[in-house]
Every structure is written in C-alpha cells, then in structure tokens.
Amino acid sequence: MADELIYQSATQLAAQLAAGKISAVELVQACLARRQAVDGRVKAFNSCDEAGALAAAKASDARRAAGQARGPLDGIPVGFKDVIAVEGQPLTCSSKMLANFVSPYDATVTLKLKAAGAIPFGRLNMDEFAMGSSTENSAFGPTANPWDLTRVPGGSSGGSAAAVAAGEVPLTLGSDTGGSIRQPAALCGIVGLKPTYGLVSRYGLAAFASSLDQIGTMAHTVGDAALLLGAIAGHDPRDSTSFKAEVPDYRAALAAKKGPWRLGVPREFFGAGLDPEIGAAVKQAIEFYRKQGCEIKEVALPLAAEYAIAVYYLIATAEASSNLARYDGIRYGHRSKAATDVAGVYFQSRAEGFGPEVKRRIILGTHVLSSGYYDAYYLRAQKVRTLIRNEFTAVLRDCDALLSPTSPVPAFKLGEKSADPLAMYLTDIYTISVNLAGLPGISIPCGFTGGGLPIGLQLIGRPFDEAGLLAVAQAYESAHDWHTKHPSL
C-alpha cells in the first residue's frame, strides 16, 4: 500500500481519498515510512511532528466520514519550508539562531491550509534564512539531491524540492526571493511555482528581502502546483503588500486555456555560462511550443540580463540587514553564554547564531545602506530595478509568457561553489530578474543531462496571470513524461 502511494500526485491522492480508496492516516503513514526509509540520506527534513500529522490525519478522516470533507486538500500532507510559521512547531530558518524557537502563531498560508484540511507535514531544510542556492548554508547540514546524493538539491528551498523528488511528501511550500523555489525545482526535477509578488501573503514567512520574498508551491505536476496555489493565494489584511485580486480557480483554468500562445524567448538568457545540455533541452521545449502552433518571438531583456544580479544583491542584502536585526538574543533565539552585558548579547549571540553567508550578507547590506553609500548603491539599485521591471512590462505586452532555462547549470557537487559566493550568486542569473519585476515564474522538468540530472524550463508570466502561466506549463507537461521519472533511492 505504502509504496503505491509514493509519487502519486496530490490530485490523484485527493481523488482516492474522495473515493474512499485510501485514508488520510494511511497516506500520512506512507509518507512517514518513506521519510524513515530515505531521509537519512536525503536529509530534506529538519524535523517532523509525526504525532501531530497523524492526529490531523485522523481528524481529516473523521470529517470525511461525517461528509464534511473540506475539499481536495483535506487529508493531503504538505511539507513546510522551515521559514514559514506553524503554531507549536519549530521555526528554525535552518539557523543556529532559531534552533530552539517554537512558533507561537500560524502564518496566513498555514491558517489557510489548515482550513482546507491539509496536514502540516514536517519542517524542510533550507539555506539559512533562505540565503543561498544550494542548501549548503543550513546550520543543520546540507540536503542531498535525490538524483545524486553527492550533489546539491539547489536552494534555498532545497529541502522542499528534495522531499517531493524523493517521494517523502506530495506537496511542499517554499519561498522564493531570487529563484529559491524555481532553481531547486529544476535541479530536483519537480515543478516549482513562484507567484506574482503580492498574490500570497507573506505574514508568517520569516523575512529575507521583503520586497522580493514570495511563498510558492512545489509539486510533482503543474496541476498539483495549481491546486496548492489556489489554497494559499488571496488578499491578507495582515500583509500590506498583499494584493487585492480575485483568486481564480487555477485548476479549472488549466483545463480551459488551450492556446496557442505568443511566447517570448529572451535572447540574453541563452548566452555564455549556459550548460549546453540545458540549452539544448530548453530549445527542444521551445520547438514543442512552436509545433503546437504557438508564435515564438525572440525578445531582448538586456538590462535584466546584465544588471539583475547586481541590483538583487544590493537590494536583498540591504533589506536583509534590517530584517535580521531582530535576531538579537533578547526576546527569543540564541543568546550567547559568553555575554556579560547587552552589547555582548548582541555581538556574541549574532556571531554564534549566524552562519557565514548570513553574516556576509548582513555586512554587505549594512554597507549598502550606510551613510555616504546609500545613493550610490541602494537608491541606484532601486532605479535600475524600475528599468528592469519596465523592460519586462514592455516585452510581456506582446507575449503571453517567456521561456528560458531555470538554471544555467544542473545540480552541482556539494562543496563545489561554497568557497566563492559570487560564483554561487551567478547561478540565479535567469531567475533573479523575475523577482525584481515581481512577476510569476514556474520551473517545470524538461529533460535530463547525459549524467541523469534533471533540467528545468522556466516560464515567466504576466503579473497575477498565474492561470495563464500554469496553462502554458500544463500544455508542455501533458505532452511529456519527464515529471513521471523519479530517482532511485
């Protein structure tokens, strides 16, 4: 029974739950068993409240038995990146700073998922405070890529991607500031959706860079990503940046929207630095769309391609330096035993609590905002950000979506790039500009390298047009079977 449930899509599982063929308890037990079997090698999870998940599953089965099932997600386990608050569960951000922190409140997405009957299933590893592209910056050790345990799963939502790819849980939540959902989805061969900035509430998401962070969904299929998105999207009065938009029925939209579409291919996203196997796979995907009758247009995003990473690392680190000031060892979190005065509590707790990448970014962000540098760095970066957004707006006037690789490289070896932060930053070259422009982006599997590593296709959509973007992605997925391939673990 248990093995049969592994790697089924959430949509399939929901149908079986609805038909009474399986129970939520059986499903949770299957996930727990799988986690037991593989997570010692994959290390996707920081923790998992097994008793809580089973209790929630029992409650779900009871609702269903009483004819009060709450919809397709009732009884479906959902893994949480360890940066999203669930009341009574750890919220570590994979940092020593918060190693013992237990959240006294629920994030808005958590409340919405609980209301939908979904079962919070475990806390997923990540780069510390979502800063990184490999999950190697976790204070609790790296997560391995299920396709090759010697390689990184990508990051920062590496645990969320690996847990799905390893069949430990059908759906996970991640967060994406510069590619942190899409890049690990690509490297792990799953679907990862970063919604438009403002579509999903950030309340309860520990902030990295507030103007860029967005919670999104990770799943086996486009349909699953849409299902989970429908449950978490929508305006939240607790998040001032959350948009007052209607949330359509994304799954209905998938069925309804058939194209053909006008699709843009940004010329600059296929230049130097792109792994040739990835370039070839993505070009094949583009050919698929052309054969489907889509109009393929080459478009230019010169500013995005040239300046996005520079803009990103100025804005994101500046915001982070301020956002992470709250981790001071006073009200919660790690307090240094060596501290004898308040200054010591600050300096020592933060020195002991934060890892090197977090420290590096805090220092950089502090510099960017400091007296005498603000205009040259932060203000200028914000202006170039405006130009990058304008560039996307202009291109998307004539295109329904853009197609590109998600990552220039497939999963790299653990430790391969950790000594050179700038080289690591450059792996986000195709994803970062999407965050700067606030647009929705999705990565879907589009092949494998000769070495058997997954390749991701990135689709970029218009603001708040997730329905359209998902439909374009669905058209590809329906005609291919990449998403049905799974690593042997």
Binding site: V83, I84, A85, L91, C93, L98, F101, S103, P104, Y105, A107, R202, Y203, G204, L205, A206, A207, A209, S210, S211, P237, R238, D239, S240, T241, A318, E319, S321, S322, A325, R326, D328, I330, R331, Y332, V342, Y346, T366, L369, S370, S371, Y374, Y378
Partner: protein
C-alpha cells in the same frame, strides 16, 4: 557679554488609539507586563506591520490644528539601531517624507500680572511625523527587565524650529501644544504616563549674532515644569561656561528635575548611522482633499481663537477667559450657560469661581457635575431679577452642587426669597437702630460708614433675605 538662547523642542506625543500603530493588539498603560503583545509587537519571525487608519486620522487632525501642510504623499522608513526596548532593532518612522510639514504653535507669554494678557507669538514647526513607541526597561541592581506593552504604540514626533529664546517660551509652547492635542482628541498628554515627552536642543550666542552656537540636547524633561527649569538651568550653565572662558561641547545631557542639576550622558555612538530606507513592508499613504474634507469639520476651535472670541463676543475679562479656554468641556459648559442665561459674564463668574472651587473640593470631574449649564442660568436669573441676593445665591449654589436641584426649587423650599415687604423691612430697621444708638448717632452726625452697621444688623436679622437696596432706602429715611 549678553547672550541670547536659541531653543528647539522635539516633542513625542502618544496617540490615543485603541490598537497599536502597526498591529491590532490593544494599546494601553498600566496593564500587567507583556500582556499587550503579539507577533508584530515582539518582532517574531514572519510578523508584518499594517498601518492603523485612526492614527493617520489623528496625526492629520493634529497637523490641521497646527496649520501644517499635509503632504499629498508620505512614506514609511526604517530607522536602524539596536536597543533592548526596540523589538525589531529598527523603528518604523518617517524620514524624508513626513506627513505634516511646517505649521505653527501659538503661545502666550506671561503677562505683567495674571489679570493682563501676555504677549502672543507663533512658534514655527519644522515637521510632524508618525512612528512607533518602544518598550520599557526596568533597571534592577544587576540586570534589566523588559516589558513590551508600550512597544508599537502610535507616537507622533513634533519638531519645532530653533525659534524660542527662553525657558518661558518653551514652557508656553509645550503648554499650548498639550492643550491643542488634548482638545483635538489626539492624546491625553499625561506626562506621568509618558504620553507626552520632550527633548530640548539648546544653544546660546552673543546677542546680535546670527550663527547658531553649539547645541546641547537635554533629555528626560518629564514634566512641563521640568522643561522650564531644565532649560533655564542649561542656559545658565552655558552662559557660565562661556563666561569663564570655556567652550560648549555638543553633547546630550540628562536633566534631573528632583535635584535641578544635569549631567552629560556619555554617548556610546557619537555619530549615528541609522541607515534609513523605505520600509518595503508598508505602502506609502496618499492624502487627498476628500480625506481632509472629512477631518476638517471635526477640528476644535483653537484655544486662543476661542479666547479672543470670549473677549470680544462676550466681553469677558481676560482672567475669566484664561480659566475657561484651556478646557473644551468647560468652554462648552460656559457657552451653554451664557446662552441660557443671557448673562455671559455672570455665568462665567459662577463657573470659574464657585463651580471650579466646588468641583475641586469634591474631587469631581465637570462631566459628572450635578450642576449643569441650566442650573447656572437659573441661578443667574434669580439674582438678576432680585429674587435672591448674591449672598443667598452662594448658599443656593452649594445646595445645587450637592443635590442637583434647580435654584428656584431650592429657594422655594428653603424660603430664601428676598424680602421686599416694606412693613417687615421697616420693623427690622427700626429694631436695628434701637439696638445700636451709637451707629445711628454716628450716621446722623455725618459718618456714612456708620450706616453699614445698621444694614448689617438688618441682614443678619433677616437671615440675608432683606433686599439691600430697600434696606438702604428705609434706613436713610428713618435716620433722616
């Protein structure tokens, strides 16, 4: 050498809202420690701020009362600094686009005597912006304890231009500002509860010099009289330093109101680098004419405008107006009593003297007073129409205050009507003359004052009910 002081004030005023500035947990004072918190107040991971609309309405109200320009667009910035009472280690504030720009506070300086209006001035403001308060540190012998109940309370910072030149001006500024804020319903401005706090920037320069001297920031001026005393002390200190050949150093000093002395606070970080940047969690605010049009009708009449109206429209003496105008409620009470009685000055006298005295003695707020404007009007009418004498009226007032009965009912019940029965009056006067032949003889001999003894005796015999004018006439007639 003669020096001129130059003083600018930074005043923090807590807004009177039900919930906090950026989250909806209750704001309040005197609650058990850390019971007014939530994820936002404690800056838990993931918490986000959302503006309190009422706080915006209140600061706009303040801005309009003080003649500020209300910015069409304002935004929110983070001021980054670490302190244990600051949960996020940044304060959400407004840096380069505050909501209120410019403005003035009209002040009145002490007059030559308390019966004479002093000089009025308009002290210009630089700006008013909105921010959030911090928590409270309680210092023990070996450690400090932090209570975050106050953290996140809406706080308005009002910055004056360096345009005051004496401790008296600063005192008058703060008094007028407090009155405006209380009357606008913006804050209760209770300094003991920290609802109004004041820092002063003080420098001195030789008279005639236009360049500003080195400024000293004076902190912890936690009562209005400490503000006056502290500033006066600092000016004297600076004059003494310069007078003895010393130089003023730019520093922050702490004024101790109890000892009347100040000491330098050693600034750990002399040059602050707050790294202000726009808060990405909060959207800017646009204030349009339609919003202002909703607020304008709710603005109270400014205190000095009202005082000028009382002086002109009601012809009240200055001393009475200066009692009536600091309280909106007392002013409204007076205006109602003036209207009902048709005798503003008489009504004002009763309210500012007798009513105020009785309220104070009984420890009762005006709102709880049993004496309402109609009572005052009734009493004034009885006196004006000669039904009771002023002396009897005092007695009637005390009874009214105690019971809430109308004056005419009390007069009726107690039989206090003034006697105009000439037969009865003649008997009292005749008896009084008989009882005091010496006074009678004195008056007849030309001593006007001797008549007072006779009249006094009549008033005593009549228990005050004798009409004084008639008594005077009759006595003169009988002693003629």
């Amino acid at each position: 050498m003669n020096y001129e002081a130059v003083i600018g004030l930074e005043v923090h005023v807590q807004l009177k809202t039900a919930s906090k500035m950026f989250t909806r947990v209750a704001a309040g004072y005197g609650q058990p420690e850390n019971t007014l918190t939530d994820p936002v107040v404690l800056a838990l991971p993931g918490a986000l701020p959302v503006l309190n609309k009422e706080a915006l309405d209140k600061i706009i109200t303040a801005g309009l009362i003080l003649d500020c320009a209300i910015a069409p667009v304002c935004k929110w910035d983070r001021k980054n600094y670490f302190y244990p009472d600051s949960p996020k280690n940044y304060q959400i504030s407004q840096y380069d686009q505050p909501i209120c720009v410019g403005g003035t506070v009209e002040i009145e300086l002490p007059g030559p005597s308390r019966n004479v209006m002093g000089e009025h001035k308009k002290i210009p403001l630089t700006r008013i912006h909105l921010e959030e308060d911090v928590g409270k540190l309680n210092h023990g012998a070996s450690d400090s304890l932090v209570d975050y109940n106050r953290a996140g309370t809406p706080l308005m910072e009002i910055v004056s231009e360096p345009a005051m030149h004496s401790a008296d001006e600063a005192f008058a500024f703060l008094t007028a500002l407090r009155t405006a804020m209380v009357q606008g319903g913006i804050s209760d401005c209770d300094m003991e509860k920290g609802q109004l706090r004041c820092d002063a920037n003080i420098s001195i320069r030789p008279v005639g010099e236009t360049k500003l001297g080195v400024k000293v920031e004076l902190k912890n001026l936690n009562s209005i009289s400490f503000v006056r005393d502290g500033i006066a002390h600092e000016i004297r200190r600076q004059v003494a330093v310069l007078g003895s050949g010393g130089t003023i150093v730019q520093e922050t000093r702490d004024y101790d109101g109890q000892t009347g002395a100040s000491q330098s606070l050693r600034s750990k970080e002399m040059a602050h680098d707050y790294r202000y940047f726009p808060d990405p969690d909060l959207m800017p605010v646009k204030v349009d004419e339609a919003w202002l049009a909703v607020i304008r009708p709710t603005l109270p009449e400014r205190m000095f405008d009202r005082q000028r109206r009382y002086l002109e429209q009601f012809q009240l003496p200055y001393t009475l107006t200066s009692v009536l105008v600091p309280s909106l409620a007392l002013g409204a009470f007076f205006e109602e009593a003036a209207k009902l009685s048709g005798k503003p000055q008489a009504a004002a006298n009763w309210i500012t003297n007798d009513l105020q005295r009785e309220l104070a003695a009984a420890g009762v707020e005006l709102a709880a007073s049993k004496v309402r404007p109609a009572h005052i009007a009734g009493l004034v009418k009885l006196v004006e129409s000669g039904v009771i004498s002023s002396n009897i009226a005092k007695e009637v007032f005390v009874a009214m205050f105690a019971t809430g009965e109308q004056a005419d009912a009390i007069v009726e019940r107690k039989g206090l009507k003034q006697s105009t029965d000439t037969g009865e009056l003649e008997k009292w006067v005749t008896d009084a003359i008989a009882a005091d032949p010496k006074a009678a003889a004195g008056f007849k001999g030309g001593n006007e004052k001797a008549l007072n003894a006779i009249k006094g005796a009549v008033m005593k015999a009549s228990k005050g009910k004798a009409n004084p004018q008639l008594v005077d006439q009759i006595a003169r007639k009988l002693l003629a």
